[in-house]
Symmetry: C2
Subunit: 325 residues, 2 copies
Amino acid sequence: MEDRAVPDSGTGDTVAAIGEFGLIRAITANRTQPSTTLLGPGDDAAVVAAPDGRVVVSTDMLVHGVHFRLDWSTPEQVGRKAAAVNLADIAAMGAVPTALVVGIGCPADTRRAVLTELADGVAAEAARAHAGVVGGDLVRADELVISITALGDLGGRPPVSRSGARPGDIVAVCGRLGWAAAGLAVLGRGFRSPVGVVGAQRSPEPPYEAGPAAAVAGATAMIDVSDGLLADLGHLAEASEVGIDIRTDLLDVPQKLTDVGTALGADPLHWVLTGGEDHALAATFPSYTDLPAGWVRIGTVLMPDTGVTVDGVPYEHETGWEHWR
Amino acid sequence: MEDRAVPDSGTGDTVAAIGEFGLIRAITANRTQPSTTLLGPGDDAAVVAAPDGRVVVSTDMLVHGVHFRLDWSTPEQVGRKAAAVNLADIAAMGAVPTALVVGIGCPADTRRAVLTELADGVAAEAARAHAGVVGGDLVRADELVISITALGDLGGRPPVSRSGARPGDIVAVCGRLGWAAAGLAVLGRGFRSPVGVVGAQRSPEPPYEAGPAAAVAGATAMIDVSDGLLADLGHLAEASEVGIDIRTDLLDVPQKLTDVGTALGADPLHWVLTGGEDHALAATFPSYTDLPAGWVRIGTVLMPDTGVTVDGVPYEHETGWEHWR
């Protein structure tokens, strides 16, 4: 890491004028650190508590024009989103997030305010998950790239992988589904409202505490819904070697999505089933489980080789996306 | 992370043709994992042993054209370098590296072989440090960007920060100094040899085990030499609020650097004092210390406000660099 403490040596308003070290100090200085941050930014590396004796780690890279657009989102919203997608991966293992490190690549003419607001967004979302921003790196690049790695602690529990679902288990979700997809449809047509769905696209609000709660309740498998409910349940079903059936009468289609769907001539249920980027959590539980607060049953785990079905039949639409398709 | 196990679905030779999931699987599959990897690639997050109850974490981003050039280095050398700069930061805290996660952004027309060779290089360097490559992310970007986060374990020792040096301490280094700078000078003039210095520029070989060894021997402060010996000792001196004097009669200027300097009309001592990217380790030790194997005394810690001097006087040249200067 290169977050050394040396003096600012420029007065301009771009990264080039401020200099790498000064800007890193501006981004990392005076951030409140949780008790898990044992040694924060400013040295070769940070030190984070790992009381469990194991550490959960996940990394995601976000690129301007691919994962976010600064004409659609503020830098603060982009920072929140970049942190959220990583923190959600930690929660999806049943772990409690503890820390983030943040790598940023940006053009030399990037305004200082873009980077400080981006850093503010990362810090705000990390704080929502009670995690520290413990270090980072800032480098020159032709386009804005944000790479975050999140750490978490399992609190003595086994990690909840994707591979533990068994036939007969309950399938349940916690968090929003379809909101970000509806927001993307709205933004793609040049609108800026309704605020609810547009805000969901700009920065998701994953239910971090629902991950460890599901683990405590005995979840057999869990996944972060990043690509879409059916796509991600497909990953879980494949890893667990089971089938899954979703029942649409159990799926909540919020009035807001119905309204947007009516306005745009789109099916809101399709957004709920296939929309990514909300970072809800999906998990399976033994059939006798009293689901933790916020978790809603949406289906059942079936025998292998039945795939993922909706009301008993395959869903005949695109179910997710890859970056290069 | 998005390292899910789904089938390859293309036969072309570019990232776009192969698809994200297939390529991630190709990069992470069948890698040997050390015993510290408790849950490897393929889930939302990985799980790594942290027996100390604390985890050391550092992140660095490398950008094509800024930190490496594919016309100067092979993808395998770039992968080695990207891993090395991060692993060296872990060693510089006195910790033993345990794991890496790797984010890669690249254009859709990037050849599959570039990415698999890059991944091979990351894995090879990680193996040299006995660390696992436990997860990653692969996304579309306009230019090749590699972001690595390294984790490490302190084995019950306090972290060796930059701030513990005391007047009277020995200043010592372990590893190469000036080799990468000499290599850069050679490459910059269109030459491809001598191999020794050019190879040092393409992929450094930090002395990972020297970091924990220094901690065990009682190092009071330590830093990874990434920007240049004088620049990085300056960071250490500032953090420790001390001065440092380097004695050139104690500095080894290898014959190879002298030869290259003669050929190019350059001062090899300048490379040793200011050349970055070799990722040697520099540390301070109490004056009575028997230095561990590989460590060589090069100077002394002085009273505050004397700055970093060479043979008692300030060094009147550029002492390091920032990316935007």
